[in-house]
Symmetry: C2
């Protein structure tokens, strides 16, 4: 038994990622106050010991460190700045930690608003998917002050492994954009490579196995490559969310006047996945768009 | 001391890859007969115990398993089928193992020619670069008969770690094409991601560090990402050779009527590297093409 005084924490957003992350915080011993728009999504947390609040404002009144893990930029704005938002209950010296993947410029604006009221904000988007969230092995990319980062670090460590303080507010979101740039293009590259093997009459499963041992190794080849071989596209990470992230990347690139042709191409494949009605599938369903275009399907018997 | 009788082996091609690979075979105890167009490139092998031959034909007369590791398709044709080529000295039951990266269709044609004379051929291109060649940790992607594969396996194991028998003749080359498809696109993806970080004011080194821990992890992000941060483009794997490999990929794709848009784009970047006079640099110099286009340079102080 430790005798340290644990800060009370708040948590908002219990989706595919948020739920296991919140459970890891509870299991590590922190008292957790939760709010969910749909009350039933809070149930498993209450069973694990969390306490329910009626609004984000009420979460802010009870907790000193408040995590948000919601879908998109407007959701974060609503939860933090909206009518019954955190901002109406936050206390001096509290920290808001947004782990959603949203616009870096909006993040900076919210952080400035909170700072004016004596509240620190960290942007701390994650990588590692549902598996990483459950196993507590997520990567955190963090933007904000060093003092806030140090204060929240033990909580990050209860949810993840590779925790990097990138820079000031917004820098975490920029790093996450880089992550999505790379993940999208690597998925597209793996899909083209496996499709090439299939079309050329080499067993894509053996090709994947061989490539895993060399410079072509990537986590995507290992995990999503296997999904592609199995045509098993249960998320994982939904194509609809990946599309949203790529939209953010391209908005920032346009602001910066930065050409990113490979990113643009991969984004179009993800758009096509969603256009095909597969937005709820894992973004590695990108393979099926290439299969359609090529008239070749992984795993088909070769004549 | 073992008392097994080791087959005599032959080796042709002592470049950046071939030299350390041949040394690993010698150090593992095999008697090695070598031929080099430029006699001086054979010197370090002779000092290690290799014996010199005056032509590929003479290598074939002395050895039962003959490795070739040369630059391009015409070089392999010349060494095996040319005037003083292996074919004029090969004995019944010998095996020719071509570890070069060349055309799959030419590989199949050479294999058929050799098979008509009672000689097996394996295509066994590698991945892992100079470091893998020196450390004996290369990946081998092998095409050919199972009996030939089993016979050569102990020799592959002296040079590499992940050794996969993909399928029949040419299948190793197809797998290598898949490898190059993926390596090219991952290099391009890493370059765009780091450039995005730089342009958006986040430290690319910290972004790389964060991304290494999640789904964006790739060997390319680890190794070539660091090269990009350092603008250190000594090969490694030369852009000029990568260009050749991408030409092979695109020739096969055209034969197969297979559209590969991402591969095509990455190939154009590599063409640009060579066009810029950087064909002797590592293919991760692709970053500099994107930097030129974007007017942003990794590592520049940000204003």
């Amino acid at each position: 038994m430790t005798t340290r005084t644990l800060e009370h924490i708040g948590f908002i957003g219990f989706g595919i990622m948020g739920k296991p992350m919140a459970l890891n915080l509870i299991n590590a011993g922190w008292p957790l106050w939760g709010y969910a728009r749909r009350a039933e999504s809070l149930q498993p947390l209450l069973q694990a010991g969390a306490r329910a609040c009626a609004s984000p404002r009420e979460v802010a009144e009870h907790a000193e460190i408040i995590f948000t893990m919601v879908a998109d930029t407007p959701d974060v704005e609503q939860v933090i700045l909206g009518e019954a938002g955190l901002i109406h209950g936050l206390r001096l010296g509290s920290v808001v930690v947004d782990m959603s993947t949203i616009s870096a410029s909006v993040t900076r604006r919210i952080a400035a608003t909170l700072a004016a009221g004596g509240v620190d904000m960290l942007d701390a988007p994650v990588s590692g998917g549902e598996t990483g969230a459950i196993q507590g092995t997520l990567s955190f990319m963090v933007g904000g002050t060093d003092s806030a980062f140090q204060r929240v670090l033990p909580l990050f460590q209860a949810m993840g492994k590779n925790i990097v303080h990138i820079g000031s507010n917004g820098a975490g979101q920029i790093a996450k954009s880089c992550n999505q740039i790379l993940v999208a293009q690597t998925i597209a590259g793996v899909a083209e490579a496996l499709l090439f093997a299939q079309a050329a009459g080499a067993d894509p499963a053996k090709v994947r196995q061989a490539l895993l041992g060399g410079f072509a190794y990537s986590k995507i080849l290992e995990v999503h490559g296997q999904r592609m071989l199995d045509h098993q596209f249960q998320p994982g990470f939904k194509a609809g969310l990946h599309q949203k992230d790529m939209r953010i990347v391209q908005e920032i690139a346009a602001e910066l006047k930065l050409p990113l042709p490979g990113t643009a191409l991969a984004s179009q494949w993800i758009n096509a996945v969603v256009a095909n009605g597969q937005g709820e599938l894992d973004s590695s369903a990108l393979l099926t768009v290439l299969e359609q275009m090529a008239g070749v399907k992984i795993g088909e018997l070769q004549g």
